[in-house]
Symmetry: C2
């Protein structure tokens, strides 16, 4: 972690209630010693992202313009997540270009928030704008569905997984890709080296994998293969939690330190695999805490996800979401690293590119 060294510009939505977008990202970054400048897209009530003013692209450009005039655009890290609409996405891309030109060493973590589980959250015209922005990024943190949308490649076997990652590295020139979560279907379990597979007796539980892949621009596959792909599987907690991806991305950025000064890294960890291991471990621990707290709530605040029932009774969903708000404040010692948790270290996936 680049403790106290830099300054991050985070451009995200603000919600009054709950932890998504900036609310899920900024506090963890601050706990880890990062100074965060924040431009808010929106000022929402939370839950459903409605009920408050949304900054237009023009207003965003105005804030950014005034910051520039005042000499306040000197951040060495940039974090962007969910962006509401095509115009705002384009405005953010223009800003990223400007910061990159000013500082070629800018570390830009772009979380391409497009959708999940086969469903797009954004208008289809946003996708090509994101694709055009990818070459500006230092790190991206898509989930499996976002990888498929960005690359146009459905991942269903070794060849298509390799092809998708290769497309992100080569066509879109992204040096660091973390697939934050991908369900462990049989093809993927079989593909993983035996040491990376979940325990055999856990066969029935839902497992996810996190895959981190680094590739310097122009680096040959053979050179890359010796250190470049890492993975870890972990059990999936039941039900839906909001803001998990926003927290995960913030933690990856907070723990990413390319300069190699980090004494925290274990032998064999790359800057990216270290950052992803920290993010997987801490996110999982926060989710576990959230899940445990939720189980102790009154029954009507912990009902199972059921979209049909929710549609008939909107308060049902709100109560459930309220009960499943990430426990970031209560879990701040987890984030800070002062409370011991299971370290879920990503391990090298030897032969990924060449097998």
């Amino acid at each position: 972690m680049a403790k106290g060294k830099g300054r991050i510009l985070s451009i995200q939505s603000h919600v009054a209630y709950g932890y998504v977008g900036g609310k899920a990202a900024v506090f963890p970054l601050q706990c880890l010693g990062q100074v965060v400048n924040t431009v808010n897209f929106s000022n929402h009530s939370g839950y459903g992202r409605f009920g408050g003013p949304r900054a237009s692209a023009a207003e965003l450009e105005q804030i950014i313009g005034v910051m520039e005039q005042n000499g306040l655009l000197q951040q060495d890290r940039l974090l962007t997540g969910y962006i509401p609409g095509a115009e705002a996405t384009a405005a953010v891309t223009t800003l990223a270009k400007k910061l990159r030109e000013q500082n070629p060493k800018l570390i830009y973590l772009l979380d391409p928030v497009l959708g999940d589980s086969g469903r797009l959250y954004v208008a289809p015209e946003v996708v090509p704008i994101y694709q055009a922005a990818l070459p500006l990024a230092t790190i991206i943190t898509p989930n499996w569905f976002e990888v498929e949308v960005l690359t146009g490649i459905k991942m269903s076997d070794a060849a298509s997984l390799r092809h998708a990652l290769q497309t992100l590295h080569e066509t879109y020139r992204v040096p660091n890709v973390v697939i934050s979560s991908i369900p462990l279907k049989p093809w993927l379990t079989k593909l993983l080296p035996p040491n990376l597979r979940p325990p055999a007796d856990a066969a029935d539980a839902d497992y996810l994998a996190c895959i981190a892949s680094s590739r310097a621009n122009g680096e040959s596959l053979a050179a890359a293969d010796s250190t470049a792909v890492y993975a870890k599987t972990f059990p999936c907690l039941p039900g839906y939690f909001s803001g998990v991806g926003d927290l995960f991305s913030a933690l990856v950025l907070a723990h990413f330190d390319e300069t190699g000064e980090s004494e925290s890294r274990a032998k064999g960890e790359s800057p990216l695999s270290y950052a992803a291991s920290q993010a997987v471990s801490k996110t999982h621990a926060i989710l576990t805490l959230t899940h445990e707290v939720a189980l102790e709530l009154p029954e009507d605040e912990r009902q199972a996800t059921d979209e049909e029932l929710d549609a008939r009774e909107p308060m049902r969903k709100i109560k459930r979401m309220r009960g499943r708000e990430l426990r970031l404040i209560q879990g701040q010692d987890i984030i800070r690293g002062t409370q011991p948790i299971e370290y879920r270290q990503l391990e090298r996936w030897g032969g990924f590119w060449t097998a």
Copy 2:
């Protein structure tokens, strides 16, 4: 501190850069274990509070209305600071009334941000709206100038100081008043009991006093006098820092625990004097850290305050402000209480009312 017990609604301005308003208040509250829901008035570039959209009173009411519909207005604490304009002040007062009706035990800290050092920041028509809101507050944290504006009483001797505090307690029915800072002019030094005066050898330094006064509604002066007024003097750091009052108020609220469960309180501390002591101590330690860091900056980032020079060269002021941003992130262990600092305990001012 009511650690993890409650939920605070904070209604403040948001700035992209620097620490004022919500940026100075929310992180400290979170570090102290408080879950904070935040409605942002504005989304500014920082520095001069310009360059970004400001939520209109109608937009604020919309956010609050949606929160209410969604059952998200169940906070047991409310924190308000600088509010831009009369309409927004009225909208916040309506909200405070609603929360108070729902929950008579609501703890509302109202920081009446009106001005400082003899100058109003707000339009004069805002003053009567604040006066009308005072009876809703559990605690107010005005500086000396705001006390004078709210009460219409110029404080220049024992009688006028008593009269001003009495007016806040009786006319405006505020049970807890913390005068966050009042310059230690000769009349005030002479008035203080000897144990509360600054050391005699420090006569030339600028000193400030913090005064905390509690009075239950309807309580007699004689009964109140035995425990009710506390004070502490402390040296004033040179130059201007933004966001100090916002930080101070957040710390008072975070450490205020009327239920008496707090085991942290020393003998003789009241809930209010304890909260004010914590706030004075931590704010002073953060300012000292900020001052020390600023002294190590390059010369052009630490020039003295000079309004004439600033007017001719706007970047001069911006650079100075950048150098004097509160070091909240770097000082988070101070806020959390895990780094030892000088405890500036407010002491009882015996005979304040009856002398």
